[in-house]
């Protein structure tokens, strides 16, 4: 009996590390990049790819947390508002105190974690669907953020986050640090959700919460941790956003990010009803969205076309998912 497990290696014991949908995504992205490089030679250059990766990093980092949230059967639409709160607080702190990078980063992470904890607590103890709770907190966080902005842009932000920025200081061998940090987080999250017992629990909770509880899984704690983690990652994304921008910050920061993140997660093959999905897929989804946006810009097409293409991606991703489900249901 043991020959079965040892004889055929790890691939037999675990589900495959990369699923079909992820391979399709990789293929689509590769094809897009190839096409764009051929059509607009400037696409393949560092000057074009570096900003793409810098813009990708915050979305992908939040998407990691969002994947856990959605896999466990929830959703968090307050991430854009949290992002605004974290960036404006951090920006004002930098302006006011001239804090160095690390303490400022910690403040942003802690603040994000706190906002995530508020979501988590309300969802676990309020027993109201996550979409309602986070819709409420999104408005609340937005109010807080706008109050802190006080109807003014934050100007002359010191370049404390240059290390994560889009300038020369933010790169090693031409690769943006924020992208490297993102890779690190994605790898850690991928390993966590695949190999740690608590990581596997998210799938069980999203599959059937009642059964998960009966199986002895600490459901409330896991759900809580998904929202806190998402909040912390939003805090990190806020710092990346600050670093990737100019020395001013206006009230539009983060606007629409929640939809960009959810789009990435859904395109990546995560089921919006929970129970299925992967971190790798979400990051690939984010990369696809960013590639489409960059591509449309570089081709000189009207920018609203990017929305059309992203919308199509979502429809195709959800459509193939549904078709697979229905085939299986037979």
């Amino acid at each position: 009996m043991t020959t079965l497990t040892t004889g055929r290696g790890r691939g037999r014991i675990l589900p495959p590390p990369v699923t079909g949908q992820e391979l399709v995504l990789i293929g689509v992205i590769a094809a897009l990049w190839l096409m764009l490089t051929l059509v607009t030679p400037s696409f393949g250059t560092a000057a074009s790819l570096q900003p793409l990766l810098v813009r990708l990093a915050p979305v992908a980092v939040i998407a990691v947390g969002m994947t856990l949230v959605i896999v466990s059967g929830g959703i968090d639409i307050s991430v854009a508002a949290s992002l605004m709160v974290c960036s404006v607080v951090t920006a004002k702190l930098l302006v006011g105190t001239g804090l160095p990078m690390l303490p400022a980063l910690l403040v942003s992470l802690a603040l994000g974690g706190l906002l995530g904890a508020i979501n988590g607590l309300l969802i676990v103890y309020g027993r109201v669907h996550a979409i309602i709770i986070t819709f409420g907190t999104a408005n609340l966080f937005q109010f807080i953020g706008l109050r802190i902005f006080d109807s003014q842009t934050v100007n002359n932000i010191p370049a404390a986050f240059a290390f994560l920025g889009r300038g020369e200081a933010g790169r090693t061998l031409g690769v943006p640090h924020s992208f490297l940090l993102m890779l690190l987080i994605v790898a850690a999250a991928w390993w966590y959700i695949r190999h740690m017992p608590s990581g596997r629990h998210f799938y069980a909770i999203g599959g059937d919460q009642r059964s998960a509880r009966l199986a002895g899984i600490p459901v409330s704690r896991r759900i809580m941790s998904a929202y806190v983690l998402t909040g912390v990652l939003v805090g990190l994304a806020a710092c990346m956003t600050l670093a990737g921008g100019t020395s001013t910050l206006d009230q539009n920061v983060g606007r629409g990010q929640e939809l960009a993140v959810i789009a990435a997660v859904v395109i990546g093959g995560t089921s919006i009803t929970g129970g299925r999905g992967s971190v790798l897929g979400s990051v690939l989804g984010a990369l696809l969205v960013q590639t489409v946006r960059s591509g449309v810009t570089q081709l000189g097409w009207p920018s609203q076309l990017a929305n059309l293409f992203v919308g199509l991606c979502i429809v195709i991703a959800v459509g193939t998912d549904l078709m697979r489900e229905r085939r299986r249901a037979r």
Binding site: M1, H195, P197, L214
Partner: protein, 516 residues
């Protein structure tokens, strides 16, 4: 088997009672379970089987009585308690997680670890061994549960139950969703387990199969255990008689004279995988009841007539014309109205007032100038039906969700009666309603028939079927199995639906031909 009498009981229940409010769900029940034995529990719906199981599995707690395991009195307070004592339950509804592998499902919540991570190899080794015990292929250990068939998933649930060293395994209607071939596989698995000394409690409505798997059977009726019988000394008819008791149910219907041409006829009607070769006539003024156990195909016949499930064979004749309902809307326009089974999922709009629930689906009738709703007429119709069906509601503006089950069911029924329907199909008309409402609904059904509606009822409630039927048709394994006149004996009908292998041996099919 021959040592059954000598072996010490593994688990015994003595004088168990349990009340839910004013309802005595279990009264002084006794049960004795021996290792290596398959112990069947049978009884009609509401006899107390599931409550007894829930007490054993820790989902409910007993009021009085004792449970003894290995001669030692124990208390079972939570599902975890039961599992710890080695009492595992496989419920009808799966508690598996589709996207996780079989091995993961079995160890979820108590993963084996190597350092911080899951020890996949070790988990897998255990699971492969476990699957071997059930004679299942080792390679399903790493497959996602959602890719397995219902039967395979059930086996995985059994494996999961066993993985916690279960000595008592409770199977709650395991065969209801399985095909015959799958049932054979299940039985082989059960025999392997009993060979290993596991004691099995087997709940089933299908009496025939007990004879191929169980050693003894305990019959329950009205919350009592009537006794435990050796299956070698029983037959289907005797079990059925014990289940229903000696009580003779009066049919509420007195047959009137000739009914004339059938209004609705089913000719060789079939829907692939659901039912086949159904021939049936329903005349105006007649109540025809299709009675069958869950899984017999009875529910699907109603759905097909109403255009929900596809008709793949045969034809439906309505007043001499061949029709084929494509959708519920189409069925209604043809004059076939349906009261769906499970009103909560398919019948009522809980957050809407009574009047809305009655008028929805009849909006054309309430339309004024083809545009807006005639609210006065809607209100008047709702009030009229509230009176006629004796629906207990403060007024027609009350939300249906606030009414009792029986009254909510009457509201859903009222919707079908706004315009006097030529054909009314009722699926499980009194499921989950109290006894008073049940009688009233039966009275309404009789009145409708007397007023000339052709009524087709599908039911899994034997008493109801006998009480209201002008003709009672037993459906089994997807087709018509036997037909009974009014005043049929309960035990005969039950035996036909639940057990006797062919329609001829009891003679019940041959004995009654519809008067033609």
């Amino acid at each position: 088997m021959q040592t059954r009498e000598e072996t010490q009981p593994l688990l015994s229940l003595r004088d168990i009672s349990k009340r839910f409010g004013g309802v005595r769900a279990i009264r002084h029940a006794d049960l004795e379970l021996r290792p290596g034995q398959v112990h069947a529990i049978v009884g009609e719906n509401g006899a107390g089987k599931s409550t007894l199981i829930k007490i054993l599995s820790g989902a409910e707690q007993l009021d009085t009585g004792t449970i003894t395991l290995d001669g030692e009195a124990i208390g079972i307070r939570t599902p975890a308690d039961a599992i710890e004592r080695g009492i595992a339950t496989v419920y009808q509804e799966s508690q598996l997680f589709g996207e996780l592998t079989v091995a993961e499902n079995i160890f979820i919540g108590r993963e084996l670890r190597r350092g911080p991570r899951v020890d996949w190899a070790e988990q897998n080794r255990h699971v492969v061994e476990l699957l071997g015990r059930l004679d299942l292929p080792a390679d399903i250990a790493t497959r996602a549960v959602s890719t397995l068939s219902a039967a395979e998933q059930q086996q995985v649930s059994i494996a999961k139950a066993l993985s916690r060293d279960a000595r008592v395994l409770i199977l709650d209607e395991p065969s209801a969703i399985l095909t015959q071939a799958e049932i054979d596989v299940l039985f082989r698995a059960i025999r392997r387990l009993t060979d290993q000394g596991v004691a099995i409690i087997y709940i089933s409505h299908r009496l025939d199969e007990l004879f191929s798997i169980a050693d003894v059977v305990t019959v329950m009726r009205d919350g009592r255990t009537l006794g435990t019988y050796d299956l070698a000394e029983m037959d289907v008819r005797r079990i059925a008689e014990l289940m229903v008791g000696g009580e003779v149910l009066e049919s509420s219907r007195d047959r009137r004279g000739t009914r004339g041409q059938p209004r609705l006829s089913l000719r060789g009607l079939g829907s692939s995988g659901r039912f086949h070769d159904i021939d049936l006539d329903v005349a105006p003024g007649e109540v025809v009841v299709l009675y069958g156990l869950i899984g017999s195909g009875v529910a699907e016949i109603a759905s097909a007539v109403y255009g929900v499930d596809p008709i793949t064979a045969g034809e439906l004749i309505l007043e001499g014309r061949r029709v084929r309902p494509r959708s519920p809307r189409h069925a209604r326009s043809l004059g076939i109205n349906l009261l769906p089974a499970n009103r909560k999922a398919a019948g009522m709009f809980s957050f809407q007032p009574v009047a809305f629930n009655i008028s929805v689906g009849n909006l054309r009738y309430f339309r004024r100038l083809a545009v807006w709703l005639d609210r006065d007429r809607e209100r008047a119709a709702a009030r009229g039906l509230i009176d006629r069906l004796a629906i207990k509601t403060p007024d027609e503006r009350t939300h249906v969700g606030n009414l009792s089950g029986g009254n909510a069911q009457k509201v859903v029924l009222a919707r079908q009666l706004v315009e006097r329907p030529p054909v009314l199909v009722l699926a499980e008309p009194t499921q989950g309603v109290d006894i008073g409402a049940k009688e009233e609904i039966h009275r309404i059904i009789a009145e409708l028939a007397d007023a000339g509606t052709a009524v087709l009822v599908t039911s899994s409630d034997l008493g109801e079927a006998i009480r209201i039927a002008d003709r009672l048709v037993v459906v089994r394994e997807g087709t018509v199995f036997a037909e009974f006149p009014p005043h049929a004996r309960q035990s005969e009908v039950l035996a036909a639906a639940a057990g006797e292998r062919s329609g001829t041996d009891g003679g019940s099919a041959a004995q009654e031909e519809a008067p033609s």
